[in-house]
Amino acid sequence: MRRIALTLAPIILCLCLCGQVALAQGQQEQQGEGRAGKWLEQRGEMLQQRIELLIARFENNKERHVEAYNRAKEKVKQLLESLQAKGYDVSKLAQDLQTWDAMIVKFAQDYAAFISKLKELSELAVGDSEGRFRAGLQEARQLLRQVQQDALDIRLYYQQTIRSDIQGLRDQVPESA
């Protein structure tokens, strides 16, 4: 009986020690996970704030662009009407203006899709997986590339088509005054 007790005692002691060590490790891991979770949450919030800031900046840029395009469009329209009344053939410029208007509408639509994706990304920044956030960011970048291309197309269309057609009108002889 004594021999059995002597054999079992170290085993029980070992088991108790192992249990305590495991418990301590578990507590440490829990603390670590808690800290990591808090850090991730803070990082997500910071990211969300940055995205909100970027959205505000993009909105401001978009407003400036649309306002400039509309102002330019209005000036071309006024010239077109005035020259038409004087007997100039403005059919080509009228067609240019329609094409330009469609390009500006496309710019506004593509921009709206981009901003919508950025807002979605802002939601993903907090409490979502890094992978999903990165995928969303890639999509947003592709949409932004399209918006920039639209803005370039609008500028180039003015420089290469509308401007030269207006210059052509300047040299045109009106049929009747």
Binding site: L83, I166, R170
Partner: protein, 87 residues
């Protein structure tokens, strides 16, 4: 003496009328030339309005300034880079 006076009066009246007429004609011809702003004749004989050309040039300058006031680079990829996002 009376005859001389009446002849002088008639001559004065004729001279005044002709002076007035010539002044009117001068005014009409100057007005026609100065305010219309017409330039040379075109290939089919119709006149090209110089003020139209001036308007177009001024408008082109305005349009250049407006279109160049916004830059497509406002939407460049750099605006959404990792560093902009603090990643």
């Amino acid at each position: 003496m009376r005859k001389i006076h009446s002849r002088c009066g008639r001559a004065l009246a004729v001279a005044s009328v002709s002076l007035l007429l010539s002044l009117c004609m001068l005014a009409v011809s100057c007005g026609g030339r100065g305010t219309e702003g017409k330039g040379g004749k075109g290939t089919n004989g119709a006149e090209v309005n110089v003020s139209d050309q001036g308007d177009v040039d001024a408008l082109l300058e305005d349009l250049d300034a407006i279109v160049n006031s916004v830059d497509p680079a406002d939407f460049s990829q750099n605006q959404l880079s990792d560093s902009e996002l603090g990643l």
